[in-house]
Amino acid sequence: MMSPRRGFSPTLNYAPNLASMVDVTMVILIFFMLGTSVNISEGVLPTELPSRVGPGGDSEINVVPTVQIALMESTDPPGCRIIVMERELVQNTFASLSAFLRERIAAGADPKGRVLIGAEPGVAYQNVISAMDACVRAGFSNIQFSVNTNVKIDVN
């Protein structure tokens, strides 16, 4: 005659095996963690429109900037030409623009003074941001943009 089995209760054998679920969940977790960190790695460059412009907008106002920068479309060299206070830079780079602006501050220009950036409609947005970046790196904090109200826009 067989004797009854001794030892642990047989109910322990019915516990679900969670190991595979943990594997899958961890993979999905790592995916979302990496995806989220890629999305939020961006910075900002703030500016303010002149208070006399809005509301009502696109009205012309007269400003006397400390520094005026113009970006003109150019095919030779490709990119844009940088013109500061109506004079073209000797070296057409944003590093030299930043150096020039630093010299202006060293020469007594007010770093809180208004810097006005204007660009032709076809200039690549990166060049406008690079010009703004050069101003900020040189130490100017009040950077504003002049806009042309007579530009045709193609929107899809």
Binding site: T25, L29, N39, L49, I129, S130, R137, V147, N156
Partner: protein, 146 residues
């Protein structure tokens, strides 16, 4: 004399770990969804001085994405707000209603780096029209790419 106890299998209780992992996963799923809703995939310009600021420090953000669109006759643009494409007129209406809701609207412009400046300028003009003075440009905080 009692027989020696049988060897028992040692198992780790994974139930609590699954609970925590599931909570984290749900958090990241929801967060990623919110970010995606606001931000389209855009090749942002580079700027070393771009600051990584907290979203709450930007006030009431109104994010305008501007995607460049290659066409036979040049580059056109699409304005996208919360994943919805819109015209400049629609954009002006949306921005005006935001401005009526709160005075502290900050228009965050996210545009492709190769886009002609006129498309960004048009958004700035719309901001001026409706009385939004704070405009912020999104950029990747690193030096120029070749």
């Amino acid at each position: 004399m009692q027989p020696p106890p049988r060897p028992t299998g040692v198992t780790i209780n994974l139930a609590s770990m699954v609970d925590v992992t599931m909570c984290l996963m749900i958090f990241f799923m929801l967060t990623t969804h919110m970010v995606k809703n606001e931000n389209s995939t855009i090749d942002l310009p580079n700027a070393l001085s771009a600051k990584d600021v907290e979203k709450k420090d930007l006030g009431e953000r109104f994010v305008v994405n501007i995607r460049s669109l290659e066409r036979a006759d040049g580059i056109a643009a699409t304005y996208v707000v919360q994943e919805k494409p819109m015209t400049l007129v629609d954009l002006e209406e949306r921005l005006r209603s935001e401005r009526l809701r709160t005075s502290d609207v900050n228009c965050v412009i996210r545009a492709d780096r190769d886009l002609p400046y006129k498309y960004v300028q048009a958004v700035m003009l719309v901001c001026a029209k409706v009385g939004v003075q704070k405009v912020t440009f999104s950029a990747v905080p690193r030096g120029d790419r070749p």
